[in-house]
């Protein structure tokens, strides 16, 4: 059964979200969007190196059998983080680590 509604706004799909650029987005942020480097997450050898280097830097012992799962999840985090990374925000945006309504 399909819900019949009066649409005040056109529905948008998740795969093509509307881009809302904040009025005060910095020129630097806009420039970064235009000149973004190729995504690191598409390069498996880069992920492998990152896992090795991070494990060493963080003193995290990793067994060989875990590497596949860790690489998969790190790649997933980086891919998803792209959605945040590419979104331009003014330089003076304060982080909101704790929500106060």
């Amino acid at each position: 059964m399909k819900r019949k509604v009066t649409r005040n706004r056109p529905a948008r799909t998740a795969s093509k979200p509307a881009r809302r650029v904040p009025a005060k987005a910095s020129a630097a942020a806009k420039s970064r969007r235009k000149h973004r480097a190729p995504a690191m997450v598409e390069q498996p050898d880069v992920i492998d190196s990152l896992v090795s280097a991070s494990a060493q830097a963080l003193r995290l012992p990793i067994e060989r059998s875990w590497r596949g799962g860790i690489k998969f999840n790190l790649q997933l985090i980086l891919r998803i983080a792209t959605l945040v990374d590419e979104f331009p925000l003014p330089d003076d945006t304060e982080p909101g680590p704790v929500f106060h309504a």
Binding site: R7, A11, L74, I77, L83, V84
Partner: protein, 467 residues
């Protein structure tokens, strides 16, 4: 007509039990003995409890009966049995948080604040409930304790991470349970098991003496079989607590007596865009709820996909930070699925985490503007009904996606900015599914009024399972 405790002790609500106790129809000891008997009978199937505090519960019940005999006034939850996700401290037990490692921790010396508050209102703690390891879960599976099971189909997931809480309430073991919700861990299991769940505003209910997961996203709240039971428990648990630095210093705003006000005058819209339903069940449920409320307007929550992404990044990294020391020395004792995600989170660049936190402030401001136009927003709670236990992927539209990461796609963008939500269960056959009723910060009353109205109309209800 609702069953009464006298006719159906297995499916009585907290409201029924409290009324029957207050009127002298039931003794607290008889309620606890019946509850313990049900747990012995059914929990081998449901696997929802990890500890039962039988002696404590019976002693507490006896004290309540004696107090009533002395003429003492009963609290609003007097005689009501409840249980808590095993990340809540229970004095005398280690707080295992679904893990193997925490079983070696010293026993808690004091109950969690919310346990103390429910007991101060007369409720009786029965035990601790199964959960996904360290709350990093949407499935209800647990490698150490086994999966908690969905009472509507024992082969299916209860949902996570408060899986045991939902399983115990939906299975009729207790009428009330507490869970936690970082990204959807009350709302997802409420949806899959077909019960009501309240995730309050961030900072509304104290998290003191609970085991954390992601401090800046962690909420705690009740699960029950009616909206009125949620309201009763919520009212009993409100109030400032200096032991939780995030707990807001606000006066208690009681909701239970407001439920009969209905929805007249409330502006209710349906979330569009990212929140568009993707399966027949979730579309039907949303349609049914929206139609009953006359919600014929769509509203777009801007950049919800990025909000979900930011919540995902913050969860992975903040969770990793919490567990870093343990991962260095005890990584082999984690569930491999949890371990790999946490280790990966520790390796994510910090710059992306700060960006996610900055985006959070921007997004919050945009969403709060919507609440000048509407009072509540409806959205699916889960993309589908309960998957099979052990199922790794599911189809959403044309895409095959991992179950574990995607059961919370509709819940994550909401808890990300701490909005209050009530998950309301639509009783579909063979499996239920819930809709989120989302309100502005501190307006739990609006979401609960809507839930209660829908229940009165027969649109939403906790289905009794065939156990």
């Amino acid at each position: 007509m609702l069953d009464t405790p006298a006719t159906d002790a297995k499916w009585s609500t907290a409201t029924d039990i409290a009324a029957a106790f207050a009127s002298g129809q039931l003794s607290a000891v008889s309620v606890v003995e019946a509850t313990l008997a049900r747990i012995r009978e059914r929990d081998p199937l449901l696997n929802s409890f990890t500890a039962v505090v039988e002696q404590r519960a019976l002693a507490r019940a006896k004290a309540l009966d004696e107090a009533r005999a002395r003429g003492q006034q009963a609290g609003p939850l007097a005689g009501v049995p409840f249980a808590v996700k095993n990340l809540f401290d229970i004095a005398g037990l280690p707080t295992i948080a679904g893990s193997k490692i925490n079983r070696e921790a010293p026993s808690a010396r004091r109950d969690a604040t919310l346990v103390e508050r429910l007991e101060a209102a007369g409720a009786i703690l029965i035990g601790a409930l199964n959960m996904g390891e360290y709350a990093y879960d949407f499935t209800g599976e647990n490698i150490h304790d086994g999966a908690s099971r969905n009472p509507h189909d024992l082969d299916r997931m209860s949902g996570g991470s408060s899986g045991g809480s939902a399983s115990a309430v939906a299975g009729g073991l207790v009428p009330l349970a507490l869970g936690s919700d970082t990204n959807g861990s009350i709302r997802v299991p409420s949806s899959l098991c077909g019960i009501f769940g309240l995730k309050p505003t961030y900072g509304r209910l104290s998290r003191a003496r609970t085991f954390p997961f992601v401090a800046s996203l962690d909420h705690v709240g009740p699960l029950a079989r009616t909206a009125h039971d949620l309201a009763l428990a919520y009212d009993a648990m409100q109030g400032f607590d200096p032991d939780d630095p995030v707990c807001a210093d606000r006066a208690t705003e009681s909701v239970a007596q407001l439920l009969e006000r209905g929805t007249d005058g409330l502006r209710i819209a349906v979330a569009s865009g990212y929140f568009k339903c993707r399966t027949a069940e979730s579309c039907y449920a949303l349609d049914r709820v929206a139609s009953a409320l006359g919600a014929n307007r769509d509203i777009e929550i801007p950049q919800a996909d990025r909000a979900r992404a930011a919540a995902f990044v913050i969860t992975a990294t903040e969770g990793a930070s919490l567990h870093l020391d343990r991962l260095r020395v005890r990584a082999q004792d984690y569930d491999p699925d949890v371990r790999d995600r946490l280790i990966a989170g520790a390796m994510a660049p910090a710059a992306l985490v700060v960006k996610a936190q900055k985006f959070r402030r921007w997004y919050r401001e945009q969403v709060l503007k919507l609440f000048t136009e509407v009072d509540a927003i409806l959205a699916p709670a889960t993309p589908c009904t309960a998957p099979l236990i052990g199922q790794k992927t599911f189809m959403l539209g044309d895409a095959e996606l991992p179950v574990r990461a995607n059961l919370g796609i509709y819940t994550q963008p909401i808890s990300f900015i701490g909005l209050p939500v009530v998950a309301v269960p639509v009783p579909l056959a063979p499996l239920p599914i819930a809709v989120q009723v989302i309100a502005a910060p501190w307006r739990e009353d609006v979401a609960l009024r809507i839930a209660h109205t829908l229940e009165a109309k027969g649109v939403v209800a906790a289905m009794r399972p065939p156990l």
